[in-house]
Amino acid sequence: MSAIQILGLEKTYTIGFWRKRPKRALRPLHLAVEEGEIFGFLGPNGAGKTTTLKLLMGLVSPTAGSARILGIDANDPRVKAQIGFLPEQPYFYDYLTARELLEYYGQLSGIPAKDRGGKVEAMLQRVGLPDAGDIQLRKFSKGMLQRVGIAQAILHDPKVVFLDEPMSGLDPMGRREVRDLIEQLKKEGKTVFFSTHILSDAEALCDRVAIIHLGELRSVGVVADLTSSMHGKVELIWQGAVVPASIRALGAECHLSADTMRAVLAEDKQDAAIDALRREKLRLVSITPVRATLEDYFLQNLRSENAPSEVMA
């Protein structure tokens, strides 16, 4: 059974006050996330990531389609006890202390009173705020609020955790801690669905990713599979500061580094480039295949506006 199953979920907002007009935020989306998976939902700002999460949380109603979480309709209150959600740039009741906020959310999540205190303390410890429990949230930094946000999302031990830009606003150390925490959640058998535009985090963490752009799903799959589908590139290094015109004509990106020249070009142009170097009597130092990153794939995918959607299992 899929942990999350999105079946043609679609959202069109009506904008404008006098002259109302439709604005399509999400085109019919079909997606399945398996149990125990860390799934990255990637896309630039305004791509439809947050809209998708809001639809899954029941914060906005879909224009069409439906979603199931753990086999139950996403709007069924029974599901809500088994999911956790961290919104983007979370804002909480700032008149409460971190401990009071977690206590309150614990109450609303149905955690029994006898277990609540212990869970709250353990969670404050887990997100690195053991000494900040009695400080009002209005005195918290952005990074501390993000930690409280994560704490409230996993306080009730949910089976599926939704995180909207969880690394946003965190310093490198904080990002590392969140990454470790997400990995820990996976080890505990939880499904993590997180949206981000920090691709290095997604590449390091995710079992699978989906790329969404302009409200449309562009591709889904394992990162290695997606990146291997790209045409490869090679890096050529030769002695000297000269770039033959014929190599430039091959579309190479050239950079001078000390007394060597470095050029990156498409794999299929490699032989032509070597021939050009021979003709110019330039000494080749090395040829190295350049592995495509998720960022390369992501950018190529977004640039090709009309590229067909690529879906891999």
């Binding site: 809001k54 914060l59 919104p87």
Partner: protein, 258 residues
């Protein structure tokens, strides 16, 4: 379900206390102390009348202002600050949230009214040196004031469920003012004919009848309040508040939280 409503209500009460809403009691206390001293010096035989009128009217006005200005932000502020995102990702239904918010603010107003009522009785004791039997009717007047608060809180919540805080404040305050003259509007409707009569009667019954709940003047004169009026006013206010709350729930259930 009941537990979740009570948690939301308790948190709403805590918010009001921490946002220093009860500080209005200081202004109220200063007003009463000043009035009691002044009245004690200038009025002859009408000290009680003045203190009761002034005291209960202040209780009503202070409470109404709190009900409107907190009530209009109960939903819209949570949408604007996106605190609802984490609320509704839990097993909390939207109607539970609205009802919890209502009881939270109503609780705040009841506590506020209770503390102000102590002030009114203290001022009364100061000017007349002893309490009289008819002063017990003040409790009925205070009860009616609380009923008014329940109505205006539900109305403010209704507006807050679909409108901006500014417009909600304008709507709720207008209804409070118009509702304070509801009896006059009914009298006017009875004098008109044809379509005007229909429209005026419809409007008179649609707006909240706060004037029926205002017995300050009569209790100040030591007049009794009939049990029938207490019953009808209670039924009317609770029905009206429930209706407004249902409206708020119906609108809020369908609202997208952008």
């Amino acid at each position: 379900m009941k537990a979740r409503i009570s948690y939301i209500a308790a948190n709403t009460f805590r918010e009001a206390v921490r946002d220093r809403v009860l500080y209005n009691l200081i202004a109220f206390a200063l007003l009463l102390v000043g009035a009691a001293i002044l009245v004690g010096q200038i009025s002859i035989d009408i000290e009680r009348l003045v203190v009761i009128n002034l005291g209960l009217t202040a209780v009503s006005l202070f409470g109404m202002l709190i009900a409107i200005f907190i009530g209009i932000g109960l939903v819209s502020k949570e949408i604007e600050k996106r605190t609802l995102y984490t609320m509704f990702s839990r097993p909390v239904r939207r109607w539970e949230f609205i009802v919890g918010k209502f009881f939270g603010l109503a609780g705040t107003l009841v506590v506020n009214t209770f503390l102000m009522a102590i002030g009114v009785f203290a001022a009364l004791l100061y000017v007349s040196h002893h309490l009289q039997k008819p002063d017990a009717w003040l409790l009925v007047a205070l009860y009616f004031i609380i009923l008014q608060f329940l109505m205006i809180t539900a109305i403010a919540l209704l507006f807050s469920s679909f409108s901006s805080p500014l417009l909600s404040a304008v709507f709720a305050f207008s209804l409070f003012v118009v509702g304070s003259f509801a009896e006059d509007l009914r009298g006017f409707a009875a004098m008109t004919k044809g379509v005007t009569r229909w429209l005026a009667t419809g409007a008179a019954y649609l707006i909240p009848n706060f004037s029926a709940l205002n017995v300050i003047s009569s209790v100040a004169h030591g007049e009794a309040v009939s049990g029938q009026l207490v019953f009808y006013n209670s039924a009317y206010a609770l029905f009206y508040a429930a209706l407004a709350l249902c409206g708020a729930v119906l609108i809020f259930e369908r609202r997208d939280l952008k």
